[in-house]
């Protein structure tokens, strides 16, 4: 019984939250990696682009709510995602046309493109803050919990409760769908294959008649979908605040690089690596050991490897270690 309790404890505090957080990071990391693999620069506007998409989704959510449209138990924001995606893609294509395409055609070094993306970051941040303001927004509606701690305790008769929020399930579910469609697209369709070819060797791809404009456009479209869905899911699960989204860029970068930048599958796994290690290392295991160990050996400290203040620092340290020992990432980068 104690053993079961211990497992439920870990599930509740580590596994489920990390899985949800990891999915959100994974979507962002695939976004970063796609841009890096195909457009060949580190996009520092990642977090702010995600917040732009989320902002549009929130505006639509509010509009639907004012009309009285809702999805019942599901959050209304899910209904707003497709519309937000359209706006996000339009925004990205506009920026690409007026900003990035010039440097791409000139074949500027990646560093210059990264600098330009900082300019885009400033502009996007300003637009988001001017339109929706810098404040914390919660836009979740519908049923909040799938299983509540008390219900679970009653059902199973255990001491530890398991809480599963509906946003967590939605996050994991949507991520699986999006990512599997993406991998199917990249691996099986002709367009996806042409994108991978372009990422692998640009000149060779051009020689074999792949239209670079089309590849770039489709990349931005996929990026728009990923950015919006990732952003909305994060906002539903936690809350929407432009500054947090900007900060999320850092663990997302860490995830993309840990997984091997340019490799979408690596980025997908990288998201979970970062999320799990953040939560594993900062969780206080006292209660867990109280269940597992006999009473005489019960710990009297928190058994916490690192204080929760260092949550972000954990992922960055992992990144630094990975950069040092395997600069190409855990799963060889640069192959889409």
């Amino acid at each position: 019984m104690d053993f079961l309790n211990a497992i439920i404890l870990l599930l509740n505090y580590i596994f489920v939250p990390a899985l949800a957080y990891g999915s959100q990071l994974a979507l962002g990391a695939i976004f970063v990696t796609l841009i890096y693999g195909i457009l060949r620069f580190a996009n520092f506007a990642t977090g702010d682009m995600m917040s732009f998409g989320t902002m549009v989704a929130i505006l639509f959510t509010w509009y639907f709510q004012s009309l009285g449209i809702s999805l019942g138990v599901l959050p209304t924001a899910l209904l707003a995602i497709p519309l937000a995606v359209v706006f996000m893609i339009l925004y990205m294509l506009t920026i690409d046309k007026f900003v990035f395409s010039y440097y791409r055609i000139k074949k500027s070094p990646p560093v210059q493109l990264a600098m330009v993306s900082i300019g885009v970051m400033f502009v996007t941040q300003a637009i988001v803050r001017i339109i929706i303001g810098p404040f914390d927004r919660r836009f979740f509606d519908g049923e909040k919990f799938i299983i509540k701690a008390n219900q679970f305790k009653e059902m199973t008769g255990l001491n530890e409760g398991l809480t599963i929020k509906s946003t967590q399930v939605i996050t994991i579910f949507l991520t699986i769908i999006v990512v599997s469609i993406l991998f199917w697209f990249l691996n099986k369709t002709k367009t996806g294959k042409s994108m991978r070819a372009y990422s692998d060797n640009e000149d060779l791809a051009l020689l074999s008649g792949i239209d670079p404009k089309r590849v770039v456009m489709i990349t931005w479209m996929i990026a728009g979908i990923l950015a919006t869905i990732g952003g909305v899911l994060y906002g539903l699960d936690k809350s929407f605040k432009p500054f947090t989204y900007f900060n999320n860029m850092l663990p997302i970068f860490a995830a993309a690089i840990v997984g091997g930048i340019g490799n979408p599958f690596g980025a997908f796994l990288g998201g979970y690596v970062i999320a799990f290690s953040e939560i594993f290392l900062t969780y206080a295991y006292k209660k867990f050991f109280m269940y597992v160990l006999p009473e005489s050996m019960e710990p009297n400290s928190l058994i916490q490897l690192l204080s929760t203040d260092y949550k972000f620092a954990v992922s960055f340290s992992i990144l630094v270690v990975v950069l040092l020992f395997r600069p190409s990432g855990i799963f060889k980068g640069k192959i889409l």
């Binding site: 580190a42 990264a114 600098m115 900007f246």
Partner: protein, 456 residues
């Protein structure tokens, strides 16, 4: 003279803009803008040395700035004796342990062949070291933080004049740069950017959460100043005489003695804060001029030529027998040290250290905008970038407000759209920075004052 024409014009415009602020807003604002412009200029020079001279991309400026600020605290705050008594020895022991760990790892790295055993040794040294650190420091930190947590709760500093911290800050930042450089300089440009950005976040996390070091997010306030305090100035006779002399024209217009006295004391209060700011400006100006002199000399020395050669063609420079790795590390340390000076100057100027306020937007990306806009590789350009961008950063809100009022003048004052725009005036600075950066990158990629190398 002719080749400097655009430099002189650009600086003249900049200075006159600040003077205009002095005339139309107030001299107090003008001098605080000027002071922060000078600090930004120092930061920009540091970044410019790395990026402009050597092509190294350092997105960790925030971390070095914060370390400089930490130096200001550790140098100037008087030591907290009680905290030293309860936990000082243990913390010193921890320092010793860290040094031991580093040296034993170095020893293993040097004296063992590459094998699995070596890795196990290193891992076990680190793990044992961390456990010792945890066991020793845990109770010590607890008792240090318990010493008057509302006021101190940290070890305090050395109690020296804060000016020394400018040098100490440089050493702190340089030391961190040495470690970061050893670790990360081999990475490709954009990887280096991301790695430095993340390392600077780690530095901030440590400063924020290690309360025994500098009180963390509880902030250190009331740092000693290198210049007089306003309150003391207001009672000094020579200062009152000076103000009276300076404003003779205005005071003479007032007839009654009583009113004259009231006006004078008002003027004294106002001018005291301006005077303090002028003192800071003088100090900062000295730093900027010294740094400018040194960097200009370096740029035109054989060493500067070598750096440019390395920047423009690493392989060729390497083939000519230049030690690229060593020079990169050196310039990374030098640039970061200058940023550290700026960080210490900034805390000196503010008189408080607030780790929570270090954010990458303000301390890393804004500085990069300054470097790019000003002109990378050109010290005069870098300083100008610091001035122009900081000026715009501060004055963006008034400018935006003016523009909004201009464009929405047709709308009623109660119009929600207009009100919303006016509410979000502070965020227009991001918009201006972004658009400014994009325009400069597109149409003047070398900056306002481009790099110009004349071989004599």
């Amino acid at each position: 003279m002719k080749q400097y024409a655009n430099v002189i014009t650009a600086y003249a415009i900049m200075i006159s803009l600040i003077i205009l602020v002095g005339i139309f807003q107030s001299w107090n604002i003008a001098f605080s803008i000027f002071n922060l412009c000078l600090i930004s200029a120092v930061m920009t020079m540091g970044a410019n040395i790395q990026w402009g001279y050597a092509g190294l991309i350092n997105f960790g400026i925030m971390g070095y700035t914060a370390l400089g600020g930490l130096a200001a605290v550790l140098v100037s705050v008087p030591p907290v004796r009680e905290a030293w008594q309860v936990g000082g020895l243990s913390m010193l022991f921890c320092l010793l342990v860290i040094v031991l760990i580093v040296f034993s790892i170095r020893y293993v790295l040097k004296n063992f062949q590459k094998s699995k055993r070596k890795n196990i040794y290193i891992a076990s040294i680190i793990i044992i070291g961390l456990i010792i650190l945890r066991v020793v420091s845990g109770p010590a930190i607890h008792s240090i933080e318990a010493v008057e947590p509302a006021k101190t709760g940290f070890l305090g500093g050395l109690g020296l004049p804060i000016i020394f911290s400018w040098i100490v800050g440089a050493f702190f930042a340089g030391g961190l740069a040495y470690i970061v450089g050893k670790v990360a300089l081999g990475l490709r440009a954009d990887y280096l950017a991301i790695a430095t950005l993340l390392i600077s976040e780690i530095v901030i996390a440590v400063i924020k959460h290690e309360d025994w070091l500098a009180r963390g997010v509880k902030n250190v306030i009331g740092l000693k100043r290198p210049v007089p305090y306003e309150v003391n100035l207001q009672s000094e006779q020579w200062f009152i005489d000076l103000v009276a002399k300076w404003n003779r024209g205005v005071l003479d217009l007032i007839s009654t003695a009583e009113e004259k006295q009231a006006a004078l004391s008002q003027l004294v209060i106002e001018s005291s804060s301006v005077f303090v700011k002028i003192c800071y400006s003088g100090l900062f100006l000295i730093v900027v001029i010294i740094l400018l002199f040194i960097t200009q000399k370096a740029l035109y020395s054989p060493w500067g030529r070598m750096m440019r050669a390395i920047r423009d063609n690493e392989e060729a420079a390497n083939a000519m027998g230049k030690n690229v790795v060593k020079q990169h590390l050196l310039i990374f340390i030098l640039g970061s040290a200058i940023v550290g000076i700026a960080g210490a100057m900034m805390v000196t100027h503010d008189g408080l250290f607030t780790p929570g306020s270090y954010r990458p937007m303000r301390y890393t990306f804004l500085i990069w905008v300054m470097v790019i806009v000003g002109g990378s590789g050109n010290n005069f350009g870098a300083i100008l970038g610091g001035f122009a961008v900081w000026f715009l950063w501060i004055e963006a809100a008034p400018i935006a407000l003016f523009l909004i009022n201009l464009f929405t003048s047709g709308l009623a004052d109660t119009n929600t759209f207009k009100l919303h725009l006016i509410d979000s005036v502070p965020y227009f600075r991001f918009l201006m920075m972004g658009i400014g950066l994009l325009l400069i990158m597109r149409y003047r990629p070398k900056g306002i004052l481009p790099e110009k190398i004349n071989i004599k």
